[in-house]
Symmetry: D2
Subunit: 362 residues, 4 copies
């Protein structure tokens, strides 16, 4: 185990490199008896896959998933579910002088120092392409959570560079390439990205995710708190540099009389908690927000060093997302879903099946 | 395992409740042969303990630690190190009507829903008192990391409510009750807290932590990335609602040409990365920042409900920190130290002993 | 984590050395709401404790247990349960020349090589005294399993050296110092042990353990099979050199037509399986048998070497069990109980609460 | 995680069913920089694969392995290594009336009760076919251990039914279909198996395995002792009912003066310990022995029940090993190798790189 398994009871072990023969994962701990086929997984992969607009990488990958095990006559059997995605559009030659140099802001330098060897083709293991198997695994988690508790997941981009994207409606999200919950700003976002691409530069973004109809009682204090696990999951996504739960950094300037969400017989008043108190879900919406840094691979030449410590200018060719945040929404949803799935199983291990008829507040 | 163990190879399993007979922990995986006695641990506990100024809870706890195992003739033996801290100043009667009601913003409600039972005395297991054993355990981690790599840990409060606290010098930190790295603002902070206490309210804070002289190569991609683990550790501290690594949420508005820290033969230019690239330490300072919400237990009456779902006003007596952020600095340092210690061992498991003479950049 | 935690969901983390200030453990994952006090645990510790007959070590340890956490108003809260047992009768001076030499058959040599340091007082961490906290933890597991499923545990010595002890009745077990399920052989066993003690030698034993009323469905194939976990648990007891499940080594000479227990509407015919098929419990009695080697610490001088590799004769004084197998019965029961408890929780995590009304065979 | 991952630091997560599209595994934690290709793995798979003599199942599976990840330009990179083996010779129709009935001695009954669903084709996940990915993973472990420490693994059948097979020489093992270390008995073993096959019955076996040139110091007391882990690994192999380390069950009748292997400057005298003391390797040969029950699937009709609890006679057609013990030798070696590999990494995590130049005894 060197960190390639996510989860405690619902575990996802991934493998693969950006330009190797295949990527995939093994999901262990899935409850038996759930209807499952590739058709349940492919739509989530399609939301994430590259090449769907001019604002993302032009690499052409259908990301077609094959279930290799764990399903018999259309139902999960309780044994490991292996997902396989063959890579189709490798173009290793694009990677020019990065073989022996380190791109600023990129994992090149640290992989080389840690392992003494690295696969430079498309970032190898550190590529955001490796989020595909996780999105596939999370499709299974989402399905189970929905069937069991009615839990649903939503996400949207709430800021692109300096441009704040005010929330209007979830309905807008699937209708634009940015996962923006706002229809009127799309033109401005497209212009911004077009200009950026022309400059050969990249930009950061902020993504919000929400889980609704979450059972009360998920999370294991002290250390495997639900918010701690969500922070782990979201900070682990490529390029994420910050995570907030509920009021997040706004809490710093809040008073206790303002921050603490009052409880009434009709429900909580407000959700500064982001749906989590003491590390355990309250039953309210779980809300989180993440900061995504600008893509490290840019066409603009940058000063760096080579393996021998000599100065060199690095210029990246190849195909890259000018804003990795654009495709990050389904990934963030996926990570949140995996955390909730894992804790749903952990909770019923210790506390028995969640009593959904408990008169919990919403 | 229901979440009370922190770490993978250097593990800390804690136990205890705020007003039970004792709190403590078992540390497993400590390398053998290191000089260790209570004198190495007590100073860290003293930095965190309550009752040291009028701005924190007045509960009187010496937090005297006893080593029960794992040390023979003053040296660690490689077997588990158990730390025991007897509680001295329990006053359960202070907790008034919270026995059957739920304080807004507090774990009362979720513990009760999850477990069907809760220890209401001082918040039971959810009390920030439970950070003491972790601080004790981290003293051991800090010692080993310093002896092995020269790694050191520092932290300070950088904002109290609306008051930003600009960094001046680490030297100021031990000389004021706020862990502020700024001498000129102390009077203002004291006045602010005095007024707040009079109002029976509480306030949030922001804490910064830094690890210096960190070996390059720590962190296990894909999922147990160093930044993901730090986010997990810091978000798991009581009352934390947000975590940033390096540039954090500032990354959202940065361009790639600005964010990516250039590499030169003399070292990195800038540290937007916060010392971590691709989930692996670069050897630069590791920098993180956290948002701490205002204390949930305030004297101001708040609307809530009781166990039967009936409306009731909750007023908290007892002794509480009006700003839990004030004592959070040593706790944040501790969590960061535990993460680095764990990954130092994980790294040498897979990759062999870290080559500190590698000409890594700083 | 260097191996001092047992279990996956119901975990027991132990600490302590034979002649240190205290031994104990932290139990994590216990379901909430179960009535629990020291009175539930002490009787199991009393069955295991030394000094109860002339055939075991004369060290006087009351093994009084204190619950430090996890119980509120007489019920488990779902938080970690810490058990503390203070050592009372340390006599470190007894250990003569073993400080710098290695007793044949003992852990002295390997601890020294592994850690570069060892606590020689009474074997330190490798002492069978460290089974006490496990027996305490298992008392909690036994209670929960009995209340939930009616599961019970029994064990007996079935062979002492060359003397086979045919099973007569479980009723005899508590009435003799050997945990023999046979009343007529007790005199012979006592004479045998008296002679052995006079010779300053030691002897091996075989212990059988049984769990009854086990739910069908416990065990996680492929690797965490119930029989694999039981083998792990029992082989990990001090001095155990062999483990059998069901027919054990008799299976080698059996034909398939003889070994496979037939299923009938009235139940299984025979139990060569030992209650486990494919790594999962069948609902039949789970039966296991272990081989315990003779105590390594004997008064007879033995050739050995010292730390410098020089030849030396080792003679052990101090107080030792001439047959560690004599007190092993409650320990073997305890380990079996911990495995079943852990798997009961694991099973309900993935598969939901065990349907005890399923018409499973017995 | 429902038990399909083996190991703590060098982990193998397997997937697949006997008659599904593919079987395989993901190996995580492999040290970087080791030369590796399919040619290092295929020979071990060939030793285990079916159809190589008339005494084993006639299913034709080339068991051709494909490395999907973790290797770049012929060297391990430290990232997960995925192995894929496509199933070629599925014949699901052979399985006749076992779809709704339970074969005595087989996992049919328990899988159905645990999961409420089972893949009946060739035993699904419970098939011994699932040992193939483990054997593949162990080839990597064996290679690393040999290159690092010179460690080697050997195994042989030491008993087939009533026929003891005295050890003569390891040289005989690859030259007969039984992995017997004895040339003169081969004719008798072949006759025995021919008669058994004619009868439609099956038989048990005993397998011995040895690891040589093992570093001193591997094993994590208290619970993850090396012998406990080996017992776990070996008992987890399909059909194993007993495990011995060193003297095993012979220890029961041994005296301490006889069992404890004396230490001399020239080395240990004897190896009753089986190379392990106090759960830690001594540097001597590690020796273990296992009992394998007769194959559960036999052509002779057996009484059983169907899913509704009604009596029925079960007769198994299809292709089965009449003695699963025959192909068990490479599997037992593989499991032993995985345990040692895992503990080599665990040991260097806590204690630093094993000092092979320590003057340890052999």
């Amino acid at each position: 185990m060197s960190g390639n398994t996510f989860g405690t009871l619902f575990t996802v072990t991934t493998f693969g490199e950006s330009h190797g023969p295949a990527i995939g994962c093994v999901i262990d701990g899935c409850p038996p008896g759930m209807t499952l086929s590739e058709a349940d997984i492919q739509p989530e992969l399609d939301r994430r896959r590259p090449g769907t607009s001019r604002h993302v990488t032009q690499r052409q990958e259908p990301d077609t998933v094959e279930i290799l095990s764990g399903v018999y006559e259309g139902k999960t059997t309780g044994t490991p579910i292996a997902l396989l995605i063959r890579n189709q559009d490798q173009r290793s030659k694009d990677y020019g002088n990065i073989l022996d140099t380190f791109r600023p802001g990129h994992a090149d330098y640290t992989y080389w120092h840690k392992y003494g060897i690295r696969d430079p083709r498309g970032g190898g293991r550190s590529s955001a392409r490796l989020t595909a198997p996780v999105v596939g695994a999370a499709a299974i988690a989402k399905k189970w959570l929905f069937e069991k508790y009615g839990t649903t997941f939503k996400g949207c981009m709430s800021q692109l560079g300096e441009i704040a994207i005010p929330f209007e409606s979830w309905e807008h999200v699937p209708n634009n390439p940015f996962f923006a919950a706002n229809a009127s700003l799309i033109g401005r976002l497209e212009d911004y990205m077009d200009a950026l691409r022309k400059d050969g530069d990249s930009i950061g973004a902020r993504i919000d995710v929400v889980a609704q109809n979450v059972p009360v009682g998920l999370g294991e204090p002290l250390y495997d708190k639900l918010d701690a696990e969500i922070a782990f999951a979201l900070m682990g996504i490529n390029a994420v540099k910050g995570v907030e739960i509920g009021a997040g950094f706004r809490s710093v300037a809040q008073k206790g009389s303002e921050h603490g969400d009052a409880l009434t017989p009709e429900g909580f008043v407000g959700n500064n908690a982001g749906g989590i108190l003491g590390g355990i879900s309250t039953g309210q919406d779980i809300t989180a927000s993440i900061a995504i840094k600008p893509t490290s691979s840019i066409r603009t030449p940058r000063p760096s060093i080579d393996k021998n410590g000599q100065p060199i200018a690095v210029e990246t060719f190849g195909r890259h997302d000018p804003c990795v945040g654009i495709r990050a929404t389904p990934i963030a949803e996926a990570m949140l879903a995996l955390v909730l799935m894992d804790h749903a199983l952990r909770n019923r291990a210790q506390c028995g099946d969640v009593k959904v008829d408990t008169p919990a507040l919403r």
